[in-house]
Assembly symmetry: C2
Homo-oligomer: 345 residues x 2
C-alpha cells in the first residue's frame, strides 16, 4: 500500500504539502500541485480514508452493534439501517457482540471514533458505562430499540412502546374468546422483554381473565418450542400461546405440530415483531408488528444530528432536545395462526 510519505518523496515535497493538495488547503503553487497529483497517479495512491478521518477528526462509517447476528431480526434491522444510511452517503459496518459485553466493549474500543463516527446499538447487552465512555470520547451513541418510552435510558434513543405491543396481543386473543392463555417470555423476568409481558398481563387483568401460565425461555425457535411443550404438558386446556417475540412463537407452532394440535383450530399462537419468517411460516403467524424500517430511519437521522452537533457550532442545542424519538405505535397483524377457541377445549 502506497503511503503519503512515498508520494511526498516521489514528488520531492513534504508530506504536509501532499496533504494540503489532496485536501485543497494551504497555499500550494500550480506546478507543485501538478507534481503531487502526478505522483499520486504514478504510485496508485488512494486518498486514504482512515487518514483523512484522522486529519478531520471524523470517520466515514456508522457502526451498528447487534447482539446476535443469528437472530433474523438483526439482519433485517441492519438492512433497514443500511438503506437509511446510504441515503446520506454513509456506509454501515456491522459488529456482532454475540450477547457478550466484553466483545461489545472491544468493538467500541476498536471502532468508535476511529473507524466510525457514530454507533447504533440494538439491544446488544452492552454495559451502559462503556457506552457513556464512548460518548464522552466524542462518538455519539444511539440506542435503537428502547423498550420503555416512559423511562428514558440516559442515552439518546429511539423508543418503541413494547408494553402496548403486549397489550395488543392480549386484547386480540381475548376478543377471539380465549381465556386460558400461556405466555412465553423470551428473556429473563427483568430482561428486555419485561415491558411486553407487563402489557400482556395488564390487559388480561383488566379483562378479568385468569392469570396466565408463564415460561421464560431463550429468544429462539428452539427456546419457544421447549417452553410451549412445557406449558401444554402442564396445562392441556390452554387454547392460546402468546410469545414476546416471533422466533419463540414459531417454535410454539412447531411444538403444536409435533403434539398433533392444529393451529389455530386447537391452539392459537401470536408473537411480536413481524420478522420475515412470520409472514413466510405455515400457517402464517399473527403478530404485533414493530415499525422496524421507521425505527431504523429515526435512529440514523438522530445519530447524524448528534454527529453534526458534536462538530458544528449551532448543533449543540439539538443534541439536548432530541435525546429520545418515539416510533409510531406497534400494530396488530392478523394472519392464520389465531382464531376462536374450539368448543369444548
Amino acid at each position: 500500500m502506497t503511503t503519503l510519505s512515498e508520494v511526498a518523496r516521489h514528488a520531492g515535497v513534504t508530506p504536509a504539502t501532499v496533504s494540503n493538495v489532496l485536501r485543497n488547503r494551504g497555499r500550494v503553487g500550480a506546478s507543485t500541485r501538478q507534481r503531487v497529483l502526478d505522483a499520486v497517479d504514478a504510485l496508485g495512491y488512494r486518498p486514504h480514508l482512515a487518514a483523512r478521518a484522522l486529519a478531520e477528526g471524523r470517520a466515514p462509517t456508522l457502526a451498528l452493534m447487534v447482539s446476535s447476528i443469528a437472530n433474523p431480526f438483526y439482519p433485517e434491522f441492519a438492512l433497514a439501517v443500511e438503506h437509511a444510511a446510504r441515503n446520506s452517503g454513509h456506509f454501515v459496518i456491522i459488529c456482532n457482540t454475540n450477547e457478550d459485553p466484553l466483545a461489545g466493549r472491544a468493538y467500541l474500543d476498536q471502532i468508535a471514533g476511529t473507524l466510525s463516527e457514530g454507533v447504533l446499538v440494538t439491544n446488544a447487552n452492552l454495559d451502559f458505562a462503556d457506552l457513556h465512555t464512548t460518548e464522552s470520547r466524542g462518538t455519539p451513541v444511539v440506542l435503537c430499540m428502547w423498550e420503555r418510552p416512559n423511562e428514558p435510558p440516559g442515552l439518546p434513543c429511539v423508543a418503541v412502546d413494547f408494553r402496548l405491543a403486549g397489550e395488543l396481543a392480549a386484547t386480540h386473543l381475548l376478543e377471539l374468546g380465549h381465556r386460558r392463555i400461556g405466555a412465553i417470555v423470551g428473556s429473563k423476568a427483568s430482561g428486555i422483554h419485561a415491558a411486553r409481558y407487563e402489557g400482556f398481563v395488564d390487559a388480561l387483568r383488566a379483562a378479568g381473565a385468569p392469570k396466565s401460565r408463564v415460561k421464560h425461555a431463550p429468544d429462539t425457535i428452539q427456546g419457544g418450542y421447549s417452553a410451549a411443550r412445557a406449558l401444554l404438558e402442564a396445562d392441556p386446556t390452554l387454547t392460546a400461546i402468546f410469545a414476546t417475540n416471533d422466533l419463540p412463537a414459531l417454535g410454539a407452532m412447531h411444538a403444536a405440530a409435533d403434539l398433533g394440535l392444529n393451529v389455530p383450530g386447537d391452539l392459537s399462537v401470536i408473537g411480536i415483531t413481524d420478522i420475515q419468517l412470520a409472514r413466510e411460516s405455515r400457517p402464517a403467524l399473527t403478530t404485533v408488528a414493530v415499525p422496524t424500517v421507521e425505527v431504523a430511519g429515526l435512529a440514523v437521522s438522530l445519530l447524524r444530528e448528534l454527529i453534526e452537533s458534536s462538530y458544528g457550532q449551532a448543533g449543540r442545542q439539538v443534541a439536548a432536545n432530541v435525546q429520545m424519538r418515539i416510533s409510531s405505535a406497534p400494530k396488530l397483524a392478523v394472519r392464520a395462526s389465531t382464531g376462536a377457541p374450539r368448543q369444548g377445549r
Copy 2:
C-alpha cells in the same frame, strides 16, 4: 476526541516523540517518556488504532463482504467467521453489498487496506476486477465459497465441491425410488448454483432417469414457493423436488402445504447447505450439508497467511502455494422431508 498532536502539545514534545513512546520505538529519555504517558492519562488519549494501523501499514480488522444479509446463510457464516477470527485476536466487520457490485466496490474502496487488513468475500457478486484492484493495493482477498474446485478463480479461495452436493441429492432421491423429480435452481442458469444443478442432472442421467423439469428462481423461500407451485401445476405427477439451496426448498414445502400435499407422503423435498432453519422446519428438511464452520476456519487461516506473507519476508512462497483450499466433502443429512414415493403417484 483527543489527538496525538494535543498530547504532544500538552507534554511539550513533537508528535513523533509521542508516537515513539506509544510504540516503544526510537530513543526517548525516561523523563520525557513519563511526561508523554502523563499527558496521555490527563487527556484520556487512546492509542489510536486507525493511526497505529496507518503507522504500521496494517489495520486491526478483517472485513467480511456478504451479498445478502437477509439470507440466513450469511449471518450463520458470519458467526462462524467471527469465531475463527477471534481465536487469532481479529475483529470482523460485516459489509452487506445487497447483491450490488457498485456497493461492493464502494465498501472495498472505503474499507480495504484502511479499516481492514484483509477481505473475505462470500458470493458477493463483486466484479473480479475490483477484487484484483484491492489485491494489487496490498490487501489480500479470499473467496470463501468457490463452487468449482476444478476451476480455480484466479483469486485465493476456499472451494466446496457443490457439484457433488447436487449429485448426492439426486442419488438420495433415486435410491428412495423417485423418477419424476422437479428441480428449482436458485440462480440464473449460468449463476452460482449451476455446478449444483450439473451434479444433479449428471446423476439422473447416469441412473437412466427421465430428465427433470427445472425452474430458475430467486434464492428465497418465496422464490422456491412460486417455482414449486409452477412445477407442480405443470406436472402433477412429480413425486419429489430438489432445490439447489435450503431457502427455496423450504418454500417448496410451503407450496406443498398450500396445495394439500403431505411432505414426504405425497412429495419429497431436498435442499443443499443445512442452514439452521432446515433443522428447525416442520417437517425438518433433508439436505446436503455444506461444512460451513470448516469453510469459515479455512478462509480465515488462509487470509491470515496471506496477510502475514504480504508483510513478512519468509511468507511469500506460502501465498503462491495456498491459492485454493478445498473443504471436506458435502454430506447428506437425511431428515423428515424425504421418503419413498407413494404407490400410484
